[in-house]
């Protein structure tokens, strides 16, 4: 894990996201988007790590990432997601949700669509145009779901001016992040330590399920779903604790792992190697959790990415027991049997690592020290 390139970019980075590669293509990730925060002028920008072929006279820019284009963004970039190859959705601290369009021929970004008052406060004491920051976005073409500090959930559809569905006061506290479980179902985490599952097919403003931590109601900041197993979810909390949940079983997490010393800002399962998990935190570190077991009889099934679960679901009738015993080292509660290897990826301690993203062998992360780190050899 030696080749990690750092570049100082004169803006504090709040989000970094890889552009998705077209399905079925053999390309590796080569472009990522970056959002800044806490500046008088914030920007959403696109960067490239393609091989340039030509070396500068200094010889040192071969592996460096270069800025392609950027565009001004009002308010802090609270969340960023690629909607598809050309469109990026950004959530703002002004409560606005914007869809940016990338034009590859002249390398520019433009605003394609905008929902300006997606999130706002309506309390007895709030000003009449009181905006609330939009804190999380998740996309699944053609839908965009957003959540915010106003406890509201919005379902937008691209090219529709108004929200398709809005759940007001879905939560009495701040919703920090959202992810899709299955397409009509989403899962949100909030600042009183609860996971809530919402089903858009149902009418009404009540969640279909609520799960929470026992003990202190520590706020949860991030959530990610296992790429193949839609019932396994990982969350990160304010105390730096990583929790793995099985949403079909019970209302409590399956495992709690003491991780960072401060807020965990993002957690990601690796999309093609889900035995690998990545977390980044306010304490300035980025950790790689490797739960892949080396036991021969298991490994042939696991290391083939997504094929194992579909293989098994055909042949078993009672899913729960078999799933439990075979798959997901994440759900195992026996720490001795399945050891998790943890590696810290950044060479030295920095200020908070606010965001990370992984795609294939590439990882990108951004920090409050105004630096972007990229590596193209995650699994070397």
């Amino acid at each position: 894990m030696e080749d990690i390139y750092a570049k100082f970019v004169s803006q504090k980075i709040s989000k970094t996201r890889w552009r998705p590669v077209p399905p079925g293509s053999l390309q590796t990730a080569d472009t990522f988007a970056v959002g800044s925060w806490d500046n008088e002028e914030n920007y959403v920008s696109l960067w490239s790590i393609g091989d340039f072929g030509n070396l500068d006279s200094d010889g040192g820019f071969e592996g460096d990432h270069q800025l392609l284009c950027d565009i001004r963004h009002h308010g802090d970039v609270m969340d960023l997601q690629f909607f598809d190859q050309e469109r990026i959705v950004a959530a703002s601290s002004t409560g606005c949700v914007t869809v940016f369009l990338h034009h590859p021929n002249n390398q520019t970004l433009s605003v394609s669509q905008q929902w300006t008052a997606a999130h706002y406060h309506t309390g007895p004491g709030s000003p009449s145009c009181g905006s609330a920051p939009c804190t999380g976005i998740v996309c699944s073409n053609p839908e965009i779901v957003t959540v915010g500090e106003d406890g509201r959930i919005n379902l937008f559809r691209v090219d529709h001016k108004e929200a398709v569905r809005t759940i007001d006061n879905a939560d009495s506290s701040t919703l920090h992040a959202v992810t899709f479980l299955r397409t009509p179902e989403i899962l949100t985490v909030n600042s009183i330590g609860q996971l809530k599952i919402w089903d858009f097919r149902k009418q009404g403003n009540e969640p279909s399920q609520i799960l929470s931590l026992t003990g202190d109601r520590v706020p949860l900041h991030c959530v990610d779903r296992h790429p193949n197993q839609q019932h396994v979810v990982a969350t990160g909390g304010q105390d730096g604790m990583l929790s793995i949940w099985d949403v079909r079983q019970g209302t409590m997490p399956v495992s709690l792992l003491k991780a960072h010393e401060a807020e965990m800002w993002e957690v990601h399962f690796h999309p093609s190697n889900p035995d690998h998990l990545f977390t980044c935190s306010e304490d300035g570190s980025l950790w790689h959790w490797d739960a892949s077991t080396d036991v021969p009889e298991k490994s042939s099934l696991f290391n083939q990415g997504g094929r194992n679960s579909s293989f098994l679901s055909h042949s078993i009738s009672s899913q729960t027991n078999v799933h439990q015993s075979l798959i997901s080292s994440w759900l195992s509660t026996d720490p001795a049997k399945d050891r998790i290897e943890i590696t810290s990826l950044l060479p030295s301690r920095t200020l908070s690592v606010n965001s990370l993203d992984v795609l294939g062998p590439c990882l990108v992360c951004g920090t409050d020290s105004e630096a972007i780190y990229v590596t193209r050899q995650l699994f070397s």
Partner: protein, 609 residues
């Protein structure tokens, strides 16, 4: 008051009539200025006043995009240096400190490079000029730092000292005259190379001196024998190599500045110069080079002070010449680690290093984004750092919860409980105003603020009284151990539990919970009537829910409440309310009496059979 080192500069503010009186106010790093109508001499003012308020900043560097990289990268080096301080001992210490110094310098150079690229690519000449002048300032900074590294940190002894100085000059001379270099190189290459190859310091200073002396004498012999008489060019070259100042000065255009002249002179006349003798040659080189035509510039004075090993003077002059505290703060800190600064106490008790770091960090806090870097600088100021941080951190505007969380984390890591409390209170109040009661509760839990938790619970209870149902059930039903934070919160949680028991038809549980709520005194007075009336449906149930013992308790509570009820003296609506209440209490007394009867019978008959 101290005397001024120089005249203060006058800044004209465009748009403001300087004849009018201006008013101003100081901020942490800036000043607010506007026109006033005071001192109106003429009664009729035909000119309209200036409607703007101006913000005057001394330090504009903080807002430069490229310099930001300097601040961020050097922050990393600074923190790294403080952290390894404890581990630095003995021989490796000097090497480590030199490495840190080189790191700082490479950061300055990288910045310079980038600024240079931007200056070349600049579209309009004005900004191009601005960037170019920034480049020369950075270049001067690196020049000074490099010299300080050689003299103060590396502490090169005589011999290697000149080599370092040669490198120093070579690095900074922009135009190297290739002709001179070629000629010099071709004349006595072998002698030069072998002379200056010092394999691993095996040669002592005296050996070096002897060798040089021998070579010098040989050159002189050549000159006296007029070996080069045929070519005046070669003859002047020979004179140069003998260190003849006049010959050197003839080549003034090729030597850009006096320190180039100095080092060249030393190379040919005193290569084994000792550090303490440097300043003599420096002063004379400066005088000779300027030749009385121009006066020394600030940079020249700084370099002279360095040659004189007067660190304090160097820092003082740099502070005056540069507009930003970055340079002096980091250099002084590094020199302090080299144990070179005496504890030079200033008027307000902290030493120079701390003073400069405090100034620099305060400047960072005035910036909307770089305040996060300032925190670490305050951490390493032992006397006034903590207090300064406490004052600054409360004034950071908190536009989103995420920023507030970062600020809180900084405070909590340093056990600044007062600041945590005050920030959480502000956020909780904002949340209450926006009707985000869950968020408000979450903030009061973080600050362990029982009073605020009570406030939030009262809000919930008030909502219940008005609407007859609870809002935000997801929160109240799932309070968990946070319930214990305040009595009122516990009451809220338990009361909701009572409702749940009733809904699930767990009547005996509901009954005992209700009773315990009343007897345990955690219910607010205003809620007692509601609790009592909640007992009614339980009393009206077909089966006996309250035991005789419990009924006696309830009766006692009722009488307790009735006797202490405030008597409203105002007529009208409140009278009506009082009547309604009285009726309810009468009904309750009746129900209790009936229940008592049934309970006694039930308990008596069980015993009987």
């Amino acid at each position: 008051m101290e005397e001024l080192d120089g005249e203060p500069t006058v800044t004209l503010i465009p748009g403001v009539n300087s004849k009018k009186q201006m008013c101003f106010d100081w901020g942490p790093g800036e000043m607010l200025v506007c026109e006033t109508s005071f001192n109106k001499k003429e009664k009729s003012e035909t000119e309209p006043g200036c409607p703007f308020i101006y913000i005057i900043r001394k330090d504009i560097d903080v807002y430069s995009q490229i310099l930001r990289k300097l601040f961020n990268e050097s922050h990393g080096i600074f923190v790294g240096l403080q952290r390894i301080e404890e581990e630095l001992t003995g021989k490796s210490r000097k090497a480590q400190l030199v490495r840190v110094s080189k790191n700082y310098r490479s950061v300055i150079r990288a910045c310079m490079e980038e600024m240079h690229q931007v200056a070349i690519a600049a579209k309009d000449p004005a900004s191009g000029l601005q960037f170019s002048s920034q480049v020369s300032i950075l270049s001067a900074m690196e020049l000074i730092w490099n010299l300080c590294e050689i003299l103060f940190i590396e502490v090169a002894p005589a011999g290697p000292l000149l080599l370092h100085l040669l490198d120093w000059v070579r690095l900074h001379v922009c135009e190297v005259d290739s002709l001179l270099a070629d000629v010099l190189g071709s004349e006595n290459p072998s002698k030069h190379e072998s002379f200056w190859k010092l394999p691993g310091n095996t040669q002592t200073l005296t050996e070096l001196e002897l060798k040089w002396q021998h070579w010098h004498e040989e050159c002189e012999r050549h000159l006296q024998d007029s070996t080069f008489a045929a070519s005046p060019h070669l003859e002047s070259l020979c004179k140069i190599m003998l260190g003849d100042e006049a010959a050197l000065l003839e080549q003034k255009e090729l030597l850009n500045n006096w320190y180039h002249f100095l080092v060249t002179r030393l190379l040919y006349s005193h290569p084994t110069v000792k550090p303490i003798d440097l300043h003599l040659y420096a002063q004379s080189s400066l005088d000779l080079f300027l030749g009385g035509e121009s006066s020394p510039e600030p940079l020249d004075n700084i370099l002279l002070a360095a040659f004189e090993f007067d660190i304090h003077q160097v820092i003082k002059e740099c502070s005056i010449a540069l507009s930003n505290w970055w340079f002096v703060a980091h250099l002084t800190d590094l020199l302090d680690h080299c144990k070179l600064l005496q504890s030079h106490n200033l008027y307000f008790g902290s030493n120079m290093r701390e003073f400069l770091l405090l100034e620099y960090a305060s400047g960072l806090f005035a910036h909307h984004s770089l305040w996060q870097l300032g925190v670490d600088y305050f951490d390493y100021c032992p006397e006034l750092g903590r207090v300064s941080l406490e004052l600054h951190i409360e004034r950071i505007p908190l536009s989103t919860e995420q920023k507030a969380l970062k600020v809180l984390r900084i405070c909590e890591q340093r056990q600044m409980t007062e600041q945590v409390r005050s920030i959480c209170k502000i956020l909780a109040m904002k949340a209450v105003r926006n009707n985000r009661l869950g968020s408000a509760l979450s903030w009061s839990i973080r600050a362990k603020d029982a009073a605020f938790a009570t406030l939030v619970s009262d809000r919930f209870l008030k909502d219940y009284c008005e609407r007859g149902s609870f809002s935000d059930l997801d929160l109240i039903d799932n309070l968990g151990p946070a319930m214990m934070l305040s009595d009122r919160l516990t009451f809220l949680g338990k009361y909701r539990e009572f409702h749940r028991f009733y809904g699930e038809k767990r009547l005996t549980d509901a009954a005992s919970l209700l009773l315990s709520l009343m007897t345990s005194q955690i219910a607010p007075r205003s809620f007692w009537v509601i609790l009592l009336i909640d007992a009614l449906p339980l009393l009206e149930e077909k089966e006996v829910v309250f035991s005789a013992e419990q009924t006696y308790e309830l009766m006692r509570c009722l009488e307790d409440f009735a006797s202490r009820r405030p008597v409203w003296r105002e007529p009208g609506v409140q009278r009506l309310q009082e009547d309604v209440e009285n009726t309810k209490l009468e009904m309750l007394r009746l129900a209790l009496a009936r229940n008592l009867g049934r309970a006694i019978i039930k308990e008596g008959s069980l015993e009987g059979s």
